[in-house]
Amino acid sequence: MSHSAIIEISELTKKFRNATEPSVKGISFSIERNEVFGLLGPNGAGKTTTISILCGLFPPTSGTVKIDGKYLHEDLASIRPIIGIVPQDIALYPTLTARENLDFYGHMYGLKGKELRSRIDEWLEKLGLTTAANRPVAGYSGGMKRRVNLIAGVLHRPRILFLDEPTVGVDVQSRNVIIEHLQELNKEGTTIIYTSHHMEEAENFCTHVSIIDHGRILTEGSPASLIAAHPGCNNLETVFLHLTNRKLRD
């Protein structure tokens, strides 16, 4: 394992209660500081399970996870403040306004007062939500909800940010704004762990990619190195299809 790794995963296995086989089968990898790490795989590959374990949502069946040098499930309380999550599903209170949602989540991350208010204003401005900030989220478009969903995960300036398909179901404009600001965050020192089905986006956005299927890591490396390692493949999508085959998934 590298000394500059911010996340180190070793032999990680997760078998859910009543499941016939594990969702994640002994995977090991590390994520370097300041990396944009793409965890790519078809439906049911084990991406969300892996991210959920890394966020501390539930413990692994076996294996270890070290975040910033600390064992995740032994030191969860000190790790939680440095991580942020942008879940695949919109995790907001629909009857509250964007500002109220962000105020609440900001407080939950330990922010308060002027600092919290200025961060909320800053992010609302960046993502073009200032005028809609005092309207209930329920009336927002899909793209606007995604943008608020993103702000709720980054308000506290996390050192590690988990993004589970952050641009799913949004228009090109919203997607570009989201990716732009994620790159900005990365430049400021945030390590990003990202999952997506959008291969072109991943190819452009990620500095390192792991392709996972049936709970196992199939390959990993920079997008360019993976394309180069697979003759006949001219982009990440063809590499992905080559490794995971074209069979439909549930």
Binding site: F58, R80, I85, Y93, E100, M108
Partner: protein, 435 residues
């Protein structure tokens, strides 16, 4: 920590205020429930205590017994007197038919010759006694026909509840028996006066009054001098208030389930904030809702029900007792809501689980039917219902004029219930996350 708790409280208040329909239902429905239930139960109460029970009287006797019963019924607070049906004097047949048709609740038929029979029995008894004593100057006992008994028929509407009929007929029997005794004494006095004339040539006066040696005085036992008379308001307001307070479990459970289904719970689980702190925020807000509910429902008993002619709710003497018991009840109700919300997997599941279990606990707790009329086995079970602890506590304060010390045990039980439900919810939440 405090800032996080305040933010959670603020968020819960925002969520509640945004759902105005839900909020108004939360406050208005229990108030309407108290109105309806108290009015219904007060009507039942009035049937027993005020003019209202329609009684048809058939007087075939046309003598003292019939007249005295008629007089008694006409001047009784218990019933409304009728001696005719559809403009025709009531007969045994027409009374039976009218009662069967539900026009009257009770019919009383005094047969012809009933008074004469009583008198003849007394006369025969005196004659027999004198004859045995050797005095033959008076009535010849062989000439007196003795009738074994007089049959007064009490006709009852078959749809009337047994317990209600028992209560009414026992009153009637007692009254008729009193009338019969009076006639017997009058006859007896008259006969004796004939045998042994007094100095003034009059019979013994007030013979009947002197027979009423035993009188009954009913009073409600109370520790203080000012007794609270139990009535529909005193019973119903606390009972339905507790019921409504426990129903807070459903919106609370709904709020927990919504957080799960809308994804907020997922995000919250990844944040540096404990489950207990998030739950505390909810509890504080919902306890406040419970307290507002309580005050509104109390105001129904104090101000609104009296406007409708119902008795005013008497709160007793211990405001501290009311405060402690109400907070304990609110905590128990919200703790239960958190437990149901943690146990349920979907909003529908939570709503069904919450409402049915509260109905069950309230039925067991004596909200619907007093526990003392329950079978022994149910009475044993009822002591495990938190609604029963709360109800007993409020009865101590409102009906028995108890103080803080009298409700401490109930409050303690409710508080323990809160701690246990919250502990279970925390453990279940932890277990559920170990998927």
């Amino acid at each position: 920590m405090i800032s996080k708790l305040l933010a959670t409280i603020r968020k819960e208040i925002w969520l509640l205020l945004r759902d105005r329909v839900g909020l108004s239902i939360l406050f208005l429905m229990p108030m309407i429930l108290i109105f309806v239930m108290t009015m219904i139960q007060d009507a039942a109460f009035k049937t027993l205590n005020e003019k209202g029970i329609p009684v048809v009287f058939v007087n075939q006797d046309r003598d003292s017994l019939g007249s005295m019963i008629e007089y008694g019924l006409r001047n009784n607070d218990l019933c409304t007197f009728y001696d005719s049906i559809d403009g025709q004097p009531a007969t045994l047949e027409s009374a039976r038919k009218a009662i069967a048709d539900g026009k009257f609740l009770i019919g009383i038929v005094v047969p012809a010759g009933a008074t004469a029979a009583i008198r003849e029995n007394v006369t025969a008894l005196i004659a027999e006694t004198i004859d045995n004593s050797g005095d033959t100057t008076h009535t010849d006992p062989s000439k007196v026909a003795v009738i074994d008994s007089v049959e007064i028929s009490i006709l009852i509407d078959p749809v009337t509840k047994k317990s209600f009929i028992t209560s009414i007929t026992s009153n009637l029997r007692e009254f008729i028996s009193e009338v019969k005794t009076k006639i017997m004494f009058e006859t007896f006095s008259k006969e004796i006066a004939e045998i042994i004339p007094d100095n003034n040539g009059k019979g013994p006066r007030n013979a009947f009054q002197r027979t009423q040696i035993i009188r009954y005085n009913e009073e409600y036992a109370s520790r203080t001098s000012d007794t609270v008379v139990p009535n529909a308001v005193q019973h119903n307001v606390p009972a339905w208030t507790i019921f409504a307070m426990f129903f807070i479990a459903i919106p609370l459970c709904g709020s927990i389930m919504k957080e799960k289904s809308e994804g907020s719970a997922f995000r919250l689980h990844t944040m540096p904030t404990s489950y207990l702190l998030l739950t505390q925020g909810k509890l504080i807000v919902y306890v406040m809702v419970c307290l507002i509910q309580f005050m509104l429902m109390l105001s129904v008993g104090l101000y609104f029900l009296p406007m409708l002619g119902l008795p005013k709710l008497v709160l007793g003497h211990s405001m501290a007792g009311i405060a402690v018991l109400t907070i304990a009840t609110s905590l128990a109700a919200t703790g239960y809501g958190v437990l149901v919300g943690t146990l349920a997997s979907t909003e529908q599941q939570g709503a069904i689980m919450g409402s049915l279990s509260i109905l069950l606990l309230s039925a067991l707790g004596g909200i619907w039917v007093p526990t003392y009329v329950m079978p022994e086995a149910m009475r044993q079970i009822s002591v495990f219902s938190p609604l029963n602890w709360s109800l007993d506590g409020y009865y101590q304060l409102f009906l028995r004029q108890g103080g803080l010390s009298d409700i401490l045990i109930y409050s303690l039980k409710l508080f323990l219930f809160f701690v246990i439900t919250l502990g279970c919810a925390t453990a279940i939440n932890k277990w559920k996350r170990r998927i």
